[in-house]
Amino acid sequence: MNSFMNKFVAALAISACSAFASVDPEMEGMEVVSRDNGTYLIGSPTYYFDRALGAGGIHSESELWTPRKLNYRLLFNRMSVLPSWDPIEAPSVWMKTGNELGDLIYRDFLMTHNERPVNRTPILEAGVRTPSFHGFWATFRLFQDDHYTFYSAWEYRRHVVDGSFSFFGENWPMFSSAYGGLGYTNDFVNASVLAGMEYMWFFTESSRWIPVQYKPRIEARADVGNFTASLVFEDGEYQNKTKKETGERKELNGSIVYNCGESCKRGMLQLSAGLSFRAVDDSGVVYTSLDNDLVMWPFLEMRVRPNENLKFDVVFGVNDRDWLVQDSVEYGIPVYDRMKITFGGKNISGTRLNPIADTYEYFDGDTISLTAAGRMNLMQASIRLDDTLTNFFGFGARGSLWAEYGAETFDVDKYVVDGIYTFRHGDVGRINSWIKGVTGEFWINLWYRDLLKFTALTGFEHIEGKEKRFEIQPSEFFAEFNADWLIKKTFRISHSIRYRSDAKWNLRSKKPYVVKGDWYWDATFEQRFPKYGLSLAGSIIQALGKEVIETPNGDYSRVRFYCTAKKAF
């Protein structure tokens, strides 16, 4: 096969592999709602458990700090994309609105108050990024996701805060954010300063939702040559109206990183290094604290690539309290012209998955330690096969074995029931015995030019261990069928139908909480106008499946529809 055909086949194979991501998420950071190739349990937009099948270990991806997440939001101990303050890259104006399906409208005339279902709630987003004027641009964005809110708001949360705790409506959404700012971009510099206000509820180890209002929140970023820096100031106001408690946290956080540049990336040894930090000043009751009010986290990233088939990656961070190493090795062997086998190994060791998070939580007179003595060690070995049999069909498979010692968990002392919520006392702890897992995944891809990309994939995972004190017992099986149609290059239909088996929360309630497995269907329909840079899209999410609460103390995950209009300048 000639070089051109190699590239052509490779491009198509990649496109086919990434087809599953094509259903539009309701908001940046909510892509997990449309994923079931693992265990993805959403409690609200600001809290979810996300673990891909085959990832190894029993933690969720968002619990683990990595340099890739430097611009993510720290929501208690999770690194979260949402609410994203990443300026939208393309000069454009956009608007999004949607609603959970199931309002009554005129059916309200036919039923009594007691027969009514819980109200359904909307999402809203509007924003603009101006074209560049001599490199300068401005942006504004307002976004709020009211899904996963109404039941818990009316039963509990609205009593805790003053007013509706959001920019719009009275659904007490889990976040409501607005910012505006200026930026400057040229070939050498990309810098921005954003300022705004934000309402947020974050989920803690005690299983509480803690409200905080950032007033203001200011974020500055700069990419200059090979250096990247960010600085954030947050003035967070905390309150619990029922307990007559108030508090304030002024926080300064950020990072500075030297990145491996273009010439560096061509070399055998690629090095990046940086420093992430947080400093807080607490007064009153803020429910959590950070040891010494400060964390400095220097880290180093290294890639060694002796040849095109072999690469080693290491991320290492250390400070006076913690250390964390994440390393991996990959060796790829082209077997035939269209087939490749990749052997991989991964290791994560450290004293804490997220070393920049707070260290204590305070709950009803109890101090919950968010750090555990000792360390964890996760090892994984994997083998992956990719084969593009023809220029319209390919398949692949991946299998792995993993073992983890010292996995982070929560040692529960007691549970407290308060209305619809169950809270817990205790401390973050470890499972000081081996947990072992075996995983297998298989996929096929089918594509035809840019008209159709189809992927079918399935996977299983079996986990064994003496102590099953996992926060989550992950689901053991999934199957997905995804297809993207692009008709006449202007009309896109992306859809995904998926099944995930049962998953189980073991430690957030007195009895384990089982999230039953189910089928889900998501779809996006998009009219594109390439000449005008215009897009009109409608998406339906979480259809078919039973509407359930996927996280204890979370809210219902409901079928919803939303539409988006975007116009490039």
Partner: protein, 200 residues
């Protein structure tokens, strides 16, 4: 080896493009084939809406009116955007007279040669409702509508142009619309007249 490098390079390009949902505007072939808005028309229409199924027990038939646009999308397919208004009066004894309903729709009309001049259409609909009342008795039947309520759904439509003169045309249409309400969907049928003017 080249294949491996190509996979990495194109994978990176693919990821970068994925970050820009409007990247399709940079596809020169797609831009060249884009005939959208090559013709454009505006229309006004009006008619009557008939509740169907158990909606017949909830509200009475009512009149509606609205405006919309047609624009070329493909050779035989037009894009449609509609905005309509109706005032629904409840059949049961409710503490207010009626409900304002605004409807927005986005869809397509397909001029299928086989059934010419009949045009088939379909798309998504969004209805925004608010009771005609300043009193908010949430616990009473109809109380939820005193606050704003919104619901999405789909529609299917058949249009029949019966008269055409220069850039003007007049036709009939029948539309089935379903809102995804709880505990069951709410269906309505509407029939009316469209008066349309082609601007280009």
């Amino acid at each position: 080896m080249k294949k491996f490098i190509a996979i990495l390079t194109l994978g990176l390009v693919s990821l970068l493009h994925a970050e820009d949902p409007l990247a399709f505007r940079n596809d020169s072939a797609a831009v060249a084939n884009d005939i959208s808005f090559s013709h454009f028309s505006v229309f006004v229409e009006g008619g009557e809406i008939y509740p169907m199924g158990d909606m017949m027990d909830a509200v009475k038939n009512t009149l509606y009116g609205g405006v919309g646009i047609h624009y070329a999308y493909w050779d035989n397919v037009d894009g449609v955007v509609m905005f309509q208004y109706a005032y629904f009066k409840p059949r049961p004894d409710i503490y207010y007279d009626g409900v304002h309903q605004f409807m927005g729709r986005v869809g397509v009309d397909w001029r299928w040669n086989v059934i010419h001049p009949v045009v088939l259409g379909g798309g998504f609909t969004c209805s925004w409702t608010r009771a005609d009342s300043k009193v908010h008795l949430y616990d009473e039947p109809g109380g939820t509508l005193t606050d704003n309520e919104t619901e999405f759904g789909w529609y299917a439509r058949i249009s029949l142009p019966v008269f055409k003169y220069k850039e003007y045309s007049v036709g009939f249409h029948i539309m089935w619309e379903e809102l995804w309400t709880y505990p069951e969907a709410s269906d309505m049928l509407s029939a009316g007249i469209t008066f349309e003017r082609c601007l280009w």
